[in-house]
């Protein structure tokens, strides 16, 4: 999987690259509009992370260029502007997603995987981890072929944790992803725990080869021992 990171802030770029490399993607970078345009024209990528404020041009113009060249890369706009206009315009120009900064890495990985899945596995959309199978589109999960009956929240948690397997997912990231952005400012995330508890029990009862670990003080991690 080849991913192009178009980001002008060097530290941000380095962090993104490192985190993406941990997922074994092939990562390339561009720091300004012109080099981004060049790379996009010369090579094909599976996914592009696009910052909008670039030296030498606006990221939205790059989107237009991609559209003109009839490229089908999955594009995720990553912007600190968090403006509704940018979002609408970006999605209209063919971007797949819009992720406002700051974000949690877990959220980025979930979005990247979702884009890759939609682009690459058309007709074969199942996520597989050990004996666990998940169909993200139909909201179904199986352990060793036997269906795991989950409520909506449990399913979302499981998919999010599986997408970020072996990665530390903070409570906030999980809450914002599953319960929505408005959940922020909640004084505590203890209500998450009861859903996790139910999910753990169901996984264990079905003999799933994955396990949700609680990382004290931060959040959770799904491992497959």
């Amino acid at each position: 999987m080849k991913i192009l990171v178009i980001e002008d802030e060097p530290q941000m770029q380095a962090t993104l690259v490192r985190s993406l490399q941990q997922e074994h993607y092939l990562v390339e970078t561009a720091s300004d509009y012109d080099s981004a345009l060049e790379k996009v024209a010369l090579y094909a990528y599976d996914c592009i992370l696009l910052d909008l404020n670039l030296p030498g041009g606006n990221g939205l113009a790059l989107l237009e260029e991609l559209k003109k060249q009839q490229k089908t890369e999955g594009v995720i706009i990553v912007s600190a502007r968090n403006s509704v206009d940018d979002k609408i315009q970006g999605l209209e120009l063919g971007a797949d997603d819009y992720l406002p900064k700051p974000f949690h890495m877990a959220e980025l990985h979930a979005r990247v995987k979702s884009v890759l899945r939609r682009r690459k596995f058309e007709g074969q959309p199942l996520v597989q981890l050990r004996n666990l199978q998940i169909d993200p589109d139909r909201h179904q999960a199986w352990v060793a072929g036997q269906e795991l009956v989950l409520n909506r929240k449990e399913f979302d948690i499981l998919l999010y944790l599986v997408t970020n397997k072996d990665r530390l997912v903070s409570k906030t990231a999980l809450a914002e992803h599953v319960w929505g952005d408005y959940i922020d400012q909640a004084d505590n995330y203890e209500f998450i725990y009861s859903q996790i508890k139910n999910l753990r029990k169901k996984l264990k009862d079905h003999g799933a080869g994955v396990e949700i670990q609680a990382i004290y003080g931060i959040g959770y991690k799904l491992v497959s021992p």
């Binding site: 802030e9 530290q11 941000m12 962090t15 993104l16 490192r18 985190s19 941990q22 404020n53 600190a80 502007r81 968090n82 403006s83 509704v84 406002p100 900064k101 700051p102 974000f103 949690h104 890495m105 877990a106 929240k153 990665r167 530390l168 903070s170 906030t172 319960w179 929505g180 408005y182 959940i183 922020d184 400012q185 909640a186 004084d187 505590n188 203890e190 209500f191 998450i192 009861s194 859903q195 990382i215 004290y216 003080g217 931060i218 959040g219």
Partner: protein
């Protein structure tokens, strides 16, 4: 009262005063002139009567006024000598009017031979009350005529002259900072209006420029703060994944992340507040509050279940508001979040929606909050350090934007009421 009518009212008052004063002056001058002319006539008649008396002694026998305009009576010399001509007004019975009418009378003395005679001459006089009445009517017509012409002049001429003023007034009335439309200025040759046009033009231009730069500042501030926040947060996440880490270190990292997340929320909320207050949410559409409430309750269902809250939703009719959909969601979410976060385990939450108001009542600390402070920025309960203290400020800002009112009161619990009609 309109400007033009205002001026007319003053004119009417002033004219009444001037015309009354003028009328009094005119009346007395005229009367004076009439007396003067009558007295001259009497003087002339006196001479004529005295000439006639010298030729015809029967004249001296005219004792009364029966058929003439004079009467003669002989008086002793001693009485006659100190006399001078005397003009006076008196009343006399007039056959034609069948009434006593005022007459002007000249009393004088003359000598014929060695005898002295007193001669009295009369002439019919102006009827003063009739004169006043006529004068009053004439003046009334004059007054009405003047006011009418002022009104006509105002409405036709002045309106035309004041046209640029009304144009600019109308323009200011419809001026919106968030979508400032350049409107052509109406050309005028009046110096004051030119100055007004220029001043308003300059003022609007400056306001729009300030607004634009503030808008840009908000976006820049957002960008500048979000990026270092994003870098720090993501670097911490990478750090947390490095091995080996002890539990104590993870705990520290978790705590730093929580603070950074809180900083992010604060930043986002402050930017949102500024955006609302700068009226940067222009777009409006019909939003169903009933649906919004149901969706919000679903979103918060886990928190409600966790706190074991009793929720009563009383929304018999749907209410739609013409607002920005995101702001409507923000309004409902913030009110609901507030009522849940500050609730006590096993408490209640009553929501009622009517055509005029949305009312939320929740249990919580059994102590009323200061109603003048709850909506202030950064006002928060010491018991919930994670809250930004901006949620209710955002609610207030949204209400202010759309002309709703929001109030806090304390009854069975804490009550927040949003009135859609203010």
């Amino acid at each position: 009262m309109k400007l033009l009518n205002h001026a007319t009212a003053y004119f009417a008052g002033l004219l009444l005063l001037v015309i009354s004063g003028w009328a009094a002056l005119f009346y007395f001058n005229m009367l004076d002139e009439i007396y003067d002319s009558m007295d001259d006539g009497l003087e002339n008649q006196k001479i004529l009567v005295m000439q006639k008396a010298r030729q015809d002694s029967t004249v001296l026998l005219q004792r009364g006024f029966e058929a003439g305009y004079y009467s003669v009576r002989e008086i002793p010399k001693g009485q006659a000598l100190p006399r001078t001509d005397l003009y006076q007004d008196t009343l006399m019975y007039m056959q034609n009017e069948k009434d006593f009418e005022p007459v002007r009378m000249l009393t004088t003395v003359f000598r014929q031979g060695h005898r002295y005679y007193e001669l009295r001459l009369i002439t019919s006089m102006v009827e003063e009350d009739d004169l006043i009445e006529d004068l009053l009517y004439s003046l009334l017509w004059l007054y009405v005529g003047l006011i009418a012409s002022i009104l006509v002049v105002n409405n036709l001429l002045l309106k035309k002259i004041w046209q640029p003023f009304y144009h600019i007034l109308h323009r200011l009335q419809r001026f919106r900072l968030e979508d400032a439309q350049p409107v052509p200025v109406q050309k005028t040759s009046i110096a004051e209006f030119q100055l007004l046009n220029q001043t308003v033009e300059e003022l609007l231009r400056q306001n729009v420029a300030t607004y634009q730069s503030q808008k840009a500042f908000i976006e820049n501030a957002s960008h500048e703060l979000q990026t270092p926040l994003a870098i720090s947060l993501n670097k911490l996440e990478l750090l947390a994944e490095t091995q080996p880490l002890q539990e104590e270190q993870l705990l520290q990292i978790g705590s730093i992340m929580e603070n950074l997340e809180r900083l992010t929320r604060l930043n986002k909320s402050l930017l949102l507040l500024s955006k609302i207050e700068n009226r940067q949410f222009g777009q409006q559409e019909e939003v169903s509050l009933q649906k919004l409430l149901q969706k919000a309750l679903t979103d918060f269902s886990d928190q409600i279940a966790f706190k074991n809250l009793r929720v009563e939703l009383d929304a018999p009719q749907d209410v739609t508001l013409l607002v920005h959909p995101d702001l409507a969601a923000m309004l409902v979410m913030n009110l609901l979040k507030n009522a849940i976060v500050h609730n006590v385990p096993g408490g209640f939450l009553r929501i009622s929606l009517s055509q005029t108001a949305l009312r939320l009542e929740n249990s919580g600390k059994e102590q009323p909050l200061p109603p003048d402070q709850v909506f202030a920025r950064f006002y928060k309960d010491a018991a919930s350090p994670a809250s930004t203290g901006l949620g209710l400020s955002i609610v207030k800002a949204i209400c202010d934007l759309y002309g709703y009112s929001v109030q806090y009161s304390y009854g069975q619990g804490h009550v927040f009421t949003v009135n859609f009609t203010s």
